[in-house]
Amino acid sequence: MDKIDKKILKLLDMNARMETADIATVTDITEEEAAARIAALEKAGVICGYKAVVDWEKVDLDSVSAIIELKVTPKAGFGFEEVAARVAKYPEVESVYLMSGAYDLNVVVKGKTFHEVSNFVSRELATIDSVTSTGTQFVMRRYKEYKVELIGEEGDGRSKISL
C-alpha cells in the first residue's frame, strides 16, 4: 500500500460517496487507476464496507442501542478470539472491541426496544460459557457519530459575497 492508497482511504473515510472522478483528481491519477485501486482495496479487505451515518432519532422507527461490557475468561490457546468471534456472529451486535482496563469486550448491541436488547443480553451473551459478567448501558442520545455532529451548528452565517 502506497501514499496514494492511503490518501484514497482517507478521502473515503471522510465521504464514502466521493465520486471516483473526484478521487482521481485529488490524488493526481486517472479515473481508471482510482477505480482499480479502490477495487483492490475492497478485494484485500482493507475497505470492508460503506455505510450511511443516519440520525435514527429523526426516523419514525423504534431503535435502541446499548453498550455491553463483558468480562470473559480467555481460553487457553485461543485468548479472547474465540468468544469475540462468537459474539460477533449475532446480527444484533453492531461492533465488538477487545478493551484494556476494567473489562474485556465492549459490545454494541442494537434492537427495537429496551426489552428486546436486555433479553438478548441475558439470554445470549450472559449464557456464553466463558462470559463471567455483563454490564449493560443503554444509549440515551447520540450527539456525534463517525465524526459527524448530529446536533450540528446550523446554517452558514456568512454573506454570499465578500472580498
Binding site: R158, K160, I161, S162
Partner: protein, 390 residues
C-alpha cells in the same frame, strides 16, 4: 442645514467606492444563490480555541490588555513565527497584536508614510492597500502583475515602478485573489534589488498557512537581507478560521513597531482581550486542526481547478490562499458582464477580477471555502452557462 459634502474630508471623498458594490448588493440579497463569493473559511473556529475564549470570560478576563497585547500571546507569536517561518522576533519590542491583519497593515503604512511618499502595490490584490495608502497621504503606485508570471512580483516590474519617492512595497502573498505565492528565489531577487536602499517591505502573509503541495510558505523576512526592511503582517482569521475574532499581528524592527504601537495605542487601545486568550491556544495546540483544514482546502482546490479547465475556462494552479482565478477571456465577456450574467442566469455568485484592480480584467475570483458538493453544483451551473453563451 449642514452641507455634509463640505464637512467631509477631501481625501476620504476622493477614495472611490468599489464600482461593483451594486453587483454585491444584488448577490447578497438574492434568494437561492449558490455562492463561491466569500473570502472567509467555512470552518468554525476549532472548539478548543473557542473554549479557551470562554474560559477566559469565566475567569473574568474582561479588561484592557497592554497596548502591545498580552505578554503571553506575544511570547507565543514569537515562538510560532520562529517555529514556522524561521524568523526571530523579540516579543518585548518587535511584535504588536492588532485588530486583524487589516489594522496591522493600516498601522504599518501610517507609521512610515509622509505626504507624497509612494507605496508600490502589486495587483490584482486585496482591496485595502490603495485606500489605506491614500488615507495616510501616500501615493499608491500600481504594478499590474501578469498571468504569464503566475502573478508574481518581478524585479523588472519593480525597476520600472521604483522612484526616489518610493517609501515601501506591499507584498501581498499568498495572494487574494490570484492564489499566487512568492518562492524563495523570487523574494531573494527582490532583496538583492533593494539592497542598499531604505525601501521598506510590508509583507501581508495572512494566508501563509494555506500553501499547498510539498512547498512550504517562505516568509519574506526569512530571506537574506530582508528582515531589516520587512514589516511582517499575519493574523488568525484564515489559518485558524477566526475571522470574527478580529485578531492579527505585526512583527518588525523595533523602531517601526514602536511607532505602529503608538498609533494603535491612541486609535485602538488594545486588541479584544477574549480573542487574545483564545489566540494563545490557537498558536500552542492547533497544528493538527490547521493541517486538517489545509487538507480539505487542498482537495477542493484540485476539484475546482480541474472543473474550470474541463469547462474551458483556463485556470492555473493556485498555490496558496483559498481562491482560484480562472480566465473567462474565452467567453468574450468582460469580468463584470460574466459575473452579472452568471448571477442572473444561474444564480451563481463569483467576484469579477476587476474588483482587485484593473489587471483583474478577464478573470473571476472563485473561493473554495465551500463543501465539495456545493462547489460541484456551482461548477455544473457555470458549465451550463458557458455552453449557453457560446
Amino acid at each position: 442645514m449642514i452641507d455634509y459634502t463640505k464637512v467631509l474630508s477631501e481625501t476620504v471623498k476622493s477614495i472611490k467606492p468599489s464600482g461593483i458594490r451594486k453587483f454585491f448588493d444584488i448577490a447578497n440579497t438574492m434568494e437561492n444563490v449558490i455562492s463561491l463569493g466569500v473570502g472567509e473559511p467555512d470552518f468554525r473556529t476549532p472548539w478548543q480555541v473557542r473554549s479557551a475564549g470562554i474560559r477566559s470570560l469565566e475567569s473574568g478576563e474582561t479588561r484592557y490588555t497592554s497596548n502591545r497585547g498580552l505578554e503571553g500571546l506575544r511570547d507565543e507569536i514569537s515562538r510560532y513565527v520562529l517555529r514556522k517561518y524561521g524568523v526571530e522576533y523579540d516579543p518585548k519590542g518587535e511584535i504588536l497584536v492588532t485588530v486583524g491583519g487589516s489594522e496591522a497593515i493600516d498601522g504599518a503604512v501610517r507609521a512610515i508614510t509622509e505626504p507624497g511618499d509612494e507605496v508600490i502595490i502589486p495587483q490584482p490584490s486585496y482591496v485595502c492597500y490603495e485606500p489605506i495608502v491614500r488615507l495616510a497621504g501616500g501615493v499608491p503606485v500600481i504594478i499590474n502583475t501578469k498571468a504569464e508570471n503566475d502573478f508574481k512580483l518581478t524585479v523588472p516590474e519593480l525597476r520600472e515602478a521604483v522612484t526616489k519617492r518610493t517609501k515601501a512595497i506591499i507584498l501581498p502573498y499568498p495572494c487574494n485573489p490570484t492564489g499566487a505565492i512568492m518562492e524563495y528565489e523570487d523574494i531573494l531577487a527582490i532583496s538583492e534589488y533593494l539592497r542598499g536602499t531604505d525601501i521598506m517591505v510590508i509583507s501581508d502573509e495572512i494566508y501563509a498557512e494555506l500553501t499547498y503541495g510539498e512547498r512550504r510558505h517562505v516568509c519574506a523576512a526569512s530571506v537574506p537581507g530582508m528582515k531589516e526592511r520587512t514589516i511582517l503582517i499575519n493574523g488568525f482569521s484564515k489559518a485558524f478560521a477566526m475571522t470574527g475574532w478580529r485578531l492579527g499581528y505585526a512583527c518588525g524592527p523595533k523602531p517601526i513597531i514602536d511607532m505602529v504601537t503608538k498609533i494603535h495605542q491612541f486609535a485602538i487601545m488594545c486588541a479584544p482581550t477574549t480573542s487574545q486568550y483564545a489566540a494563545i491556544e490557537a498558536m500552542r495546540n492547533c497544528d493538527s486542526e490547521v493541517e486538517r483544514m489545509l487538507e480539505e482546502y487542498d482537495m477542493r482546490r484540485k476539484i475546482i481547478v480541474s472543473g474550470f479547465n474541463k469547462i474551458g475556462l483556463t485556470c492555473r494552479e493556485p498555490k496558496g490562499a483559498f481562491y482560484a482565478f480562472p480566465s473567462i477571456k474565452s467567453t468574450g465577456l468582460s469580468s463584470e458582464e460574466f459575473c452579472e450574467r452568471l448571477l442572473e442566469a444561474k444564480h451563481v455568485a463569483v467576484v469579477p477580477g476587476t474588483a482587485f484592480g484593473d489587471s483583474g480584467e478577464g478573470f473571476v475570483r472563485v473561493s473554495y471555502c465551500y463543501s465539495t458538493a456545493h462547489i460541484k453544483e456551482a461548477l455544473k451551473r457555470i458549465g451550463e452557462f458557458v455552453e449557453e453563451i457560446k
